[in-house]
């Protein structure tokens, strides 16, 4: 029984990791319709920023967290202005461009850091909750996931900026007619999405290490979470990452990791067969 409870708690951690890794993609893919194949590499950029900050420059982890957001967001803004902006109406070309970008980033990282690098665990140790041992870092990850989700929801629902993005998503031309500079908002939204991917990289770095090929693992998982949750729904992403994370961990507890992975993918295929718009689809005109 204790093990089962412990599995559920571990599942929360995995769900939080999944949610953090997905948020950035949700914004770029869900709100801007850009299929960002370089999402995984943006996570990698954030992770390498964390590595450079904490392991080489000895900057505290929490400041590295902010740095990874800022640097990746700037990088995202640059990408948007130079590459993505010209391609909004051409999804196929966007895929090619971002895929190319992902390869370029990966290869550059490989030349500089051929080996996987270590980021020290910022909050080592465990706490015991009635016999269940929980790593401190996991608690931090779950709190971060909740904070990022809440902040993003508030940002998009209740601020003027967020409402403008909503308007653009619904009808770009009409929004432009109303005198809103869609171009600037696009850049900022893309930058915010990229920055979130950077934070994901930072949070993943202490547990998985930092390597040039770390991104590809999370690309598939993130797209899966977005599609299951419903492409434009932040709440949907929270639900789907919880279902997938908990499902995987609990199933792995009763069978093993390989089977858990197979079952989850099977469930996802069945789900999108019958509900292709995801669990929390928004009404679209």
């Amino acid at each position: 029984m204790l093990t089962f409870i412990s599995q559920i708690i571990n599942g929360l951690n995995q769900s939080a990791v999944l949610l953090i890794a997905t948020l950035g993609l949700l914004i770029i893919f869900g709100l801007m319709n850009v299929i960002n194949m370089a999402h995984g590499e943006m996570i990698m950029v954030g992770a390498f920023v964390t590595y450079i900050a904490t392991s080489i420059l000895n900057i505290p982890f929490l400041i590295a967290l902010v740095l990874s957001f800022v640097v990746t967001a700037l990088f995202g803004a640059l990408t948007e202005v130079t590459i993505i902006k010209k391609l909004y109406s051409k999804p196929t070309e966007t895929i090619l461009a971002t895929y190319a970008l992902s390869i370029i980033l990966k290869e550059i990282a490989r030349i500089i850091w051929p080996l996987s690098q270590n980021v020290n665990m910022p909050f080592p140790g465990t706490i015991s909750l009635g016999g269940v041992i929980v790593p401190r870092y996991n608690i931090f990850v779950v709190i971060m996931a909740i904070l990022l989700l809440t902040f993003t929801i508030i940002f998009f629902r209740f601020t003027k900026f967020g409402k403008k993005i909503g308007a653009i998503t619904q009808n770009r031309q009409m929004t432009e007619c109303l005198g809103i500079k869609t171009s600037t908002i696009d850049t900022l939204t893309f930058a915010y999405g990229a920055g979130l991917a950077g934070i994901a990289g930072c949070i993943l770095a202490p547990t998985t290490g930092v390597s040039y090929d770390m991104g590809s693992t999370y690309l598939t998982d993130s797209f899966m979470t977005v599609v299951v949750g419903g492409v434009q729904s932040l709440i949907g992403a929270a639900f789907s990452s919880t279902i997938i994370g908990e499902g995987r961990t609990v199933l792995a507890g009763v069978s093993n990791d390989t089977w858990a992975k197979i079952m989850i993918f099977l469930a996802v295929i069945i789900l999108i067969r019958f509900k292709p718009e995801g669990l929390f689809a928004k009404e679209r005109r």
């Binding site: 996987s116 202490p206 390597s211 797209f223 492409v231």
Partner: protein, 427 residues
Amino acid sequence: MKMKRIIALAASMVLMASLAGCGSSASASKGSASSGSSDSSSGDSIKIGVLFSSTGSTALVEKTMTDACTMAFDEINAAGGINGRKIEYIHEDYASDPAKCTEKIKKLIEQDGVVATVGCYTSASRQATLPTLKDDDSLLIYPTYTEGEEVHPNVIYVGCMPNQQATDFIPYLMQNVGKKVFLVGSDYVFPKTCNKQAKALIEQNGGEVVGEEYAPLGQTDFSTICNKIKDSGADLVYSTVIGDSNTAFYKAYKQYGLDPAKCPICAIGIDESNLQAIGADYAEGNYASMPYFSTLDTQASKDFVEKYNEKFDDGTVVTVLTESAYSSCYLLAEALKKVDDPTDTDALIKAFAGVEFDAPQGKIKVDEYNHSTWLYSRFAKIHDGKFDIIYSSDEAIRPEPWPAVLYPKYKDTNFMPDWNDPICYPQ
């Protein structure tokens, strides 16, 4: 409507990308990167193929193996070559893709006319070359440690067999660490075959297997496995986890409250390239077994590490695989010296029997019968982010492709079935 199309498009791209990540890299170079002079009419040099990836998922490891081969062949040439003839090595990149490996070995043998090839990293890539080697009657020198239970007449296995990692290691662990063992591995053939042998050895030495778990390749969440280890009451974890998953595993291990001082991870799948990423704190106190560690304190080993680091200052480190690729080239050179006509493959294979080389790890020798190599057994305890060698066998240990502990019937036939037996290699 448009949204659905985009989702479909995204889904197919993600699928493609993840497939690409699995091994085949569509963008890999088609051109042949060849070193050495490409004058095909030079009758005086001996042509040797070097077949390792420079692109794709396993390129990083294979790059150090290519480098080691370059270093070895340059040294052999500088020392006068093979009976006065220079070695001309031709490098081909198979882009971490077994299908491409078949194509490239064909090219090396049929177009370039190499007398033998040093190469391949994964078992899948090696097995992709086997039909061609047989049809074209050529030879492959394979430097990677392997799971055994395969002996091909056209392959010389220089990497270690599981018995060379386990037969000394497991009794030591039973006596000095504990009897209750939890087996953890990556989910594919190498860990499963090695663990089969480990289980037999554990039981033979009075130990007990209290659990067995496999994680998919590339897994980064080890919380469930750590929980199961905790519940099992194990004294030690015998690990065959491979690659970068190790970082997540070692970190999760301590994060979830398991203590290497009480229950160490004893691994046969980690080397120097993993240690940096795991970090000194998390690697501390765990064990590893390999024929060679770059911390080996002998002149030959120190010279080798120094030479490599001087020549290839690119962030890579010397591992057992680098050493093995280097030794493979020298063993091949020694065998070539014994034959009159290097293109006579049968004679060359015969010449390999009993060939010796003073490798960085010590004196090694190709077995007279089973095409595998006598190597040292060494194990180390990790301290301060380095392998502290705590045991070295006095001399090289005989390889057992079909280990005696599992297949007593092959004990008197050089640890392998008859050469004509179809179970010798995948047909």
